[in-house]
């Protein structure tokens, strides 16, 4: 087998990252495919070298093919490009139970844009709990520069119950500038329960602590796992990370 073909298959299998038995089976199948294709191209009067080049090109980029061959939804999926999918997914785009990435979709999602149940990010959209530059929590607690949610807490907050520098809501217990449907005199009792929680300095401090307590370990894990993936690829074929 030609060296170019060998190298191509090596690269595909680096990205596929399968266990030894699966890798051997998949590699044998791809190898058979390519050899058959090369033989056919040679029959069509291509030189051996051109046939190899053509077969490799038609087969697809090693990263695309390799990532496609990864196990479906593994415990941990770290990718340097494309969409990672796994219980813990880390990549430019990530979909998982715990998703970390430029765009992250998961039960627990961290990213430039994060969508899920509990989210942290530049733009965080969550059902229950969102923290971020712009955070939206439809039926929960949103905390951020701009916060929109059932309970919104932030620089500018908008929600059923809202507190912040500026706030718009049905009930605004405390805000620099407030637009509130209810006044302190007319507010129903069930909305007043949140006053103590939202108007104390302790709440702000606790929220910030929770935010950073979640964020730093996650960033650390993301950094470690991404680096580990780069190292694995670099060790197998340094040219792939140049």
């Amino acid at each position: 087998m030609s060296r170019a073909l060998q190298k191509y298959l090596d690269r595909v299998m680096i990205y596929a990252n399968r266990n030894e038995a699966d890798a051997a089976r998949i590699r044998a199948e791809l190898e058979d495919h390519l050899l058959k294709k090369i033989a056919d191209l040679e029959t069509d009067s291509l030189s051996r070298e051109d046939a190899v080049f053509q077969a490799i090109e038609d087969h697809g980029h090693p990263r695309t093919v390799g990532y496609g061959l990864r196990q479906r939804f593994p415990w941990v999926d770290v990718r340097t490009e494309g969409t990672a999918r796994g219980f813990v997914a880390i990549g430019p785009k990530a979909v998982g139970v715990i998703a970390l990435g430029g765009a992250a979709f998961g039960l627990l999602a961290f990213g430039g844009m994060a969508v899920g149940l509990i989210t942290f990010g530049g733009l965080a959209l969550a059902a229950l709990l969102s923290f971020g530059g712009c955070s939206v929590a439809l039926i929960g607690f949103a905390f951020g520069g701009f916060a929109l949610g059932l309970i919104a807490y932030g620089g500018f907050a908008c929600g059923i119950i809202a507190t912040g520098g500026g706030a718009i809501g049905l009930w605004v217990p405390q805000a620099g500038k407030a637009i509130s449907y209810f006044s302190r005199e007319t507010v129903p009792h069930y909305l007043q329960y949140f006053d103590a929680f939202l108007t104390t300095k302790r709440t702000f401090i606790v929220t910030m602590l929770v935010f950073y307590a979640m964020l730093f370990p996650v960033l650390l894990v993301q950094g470690i796992l991404t680096r580990k993936e780069y190292q694995r690829i670099k060790k197998a074929d340094p040219k792939l990370v140049e």
């Binding site: 595909v12 089976r25 998949i26 044998a28 199948e29 791809l30 058979d32 495919h33 050899l35 058959k36 294709k37 033989a39 038609d58 087969h59 697809g60 980029h61 695309t64 093919v65 496609g68 061959l69 479906r72």
Partner: protein
């Protein structure tokens, strides 16, 4: 004619592979060649990208695979349609005929191009 866009094709490669395997057991390279021949340049798949789809179909038990000795003396993995796969293909085929009928009517394709005769009374 411009090749099909990836989004248009998404999710339908499985059906195409099942259809190719309907005629009998085959292996990866032959399946791709058959697909490309039938697609007449409209469809261009990276050859390596069909394997994840084949493995997915195998996981779903829509196709089964076994190694057999090929004419060149190498082991080759042959895929064949299972009974479940045949049923899935029939369902997908019917769905496509219905979609074709709807798209044809709405987008105004000539009637002669439609194969909706079997679908009279179909509920969409």
């Amino acid at each position: 004619m411009r090749p099909l866009r990836k989004q248009t094709l998404a999710g339908n490669v499985e059906t195409l592979l099942l259809a190719v395997l309907e005629t009998g057991p085959s292996y990866g390279y032959a399946i791709v060649r058959e697909l490309n021949e039938q697609a007449e340049g409209i469809l261009r798949l990276g050859e390596g990208t069909i394997y994840p789809v084949l493995y997915r179909l195998e996981e779903k038990k829509l196709i089964s695979a076994r190694w057999r000795l090929a004419e060149n003396g190498r082991e080759r993995r042959y895929y064949r349609l299972t009974a479940k796969g045949r049923r899935a293909l029939a369902t997908n085929r019917q769905q496509w005929q219905m979609l074709e009928m709807v798209m044809g009517k709405v987008l105004g394709f000539p009637k002669g191009r439609l194969r909706g005769s079997k679908l009279k009374g179909a509920t969409i």
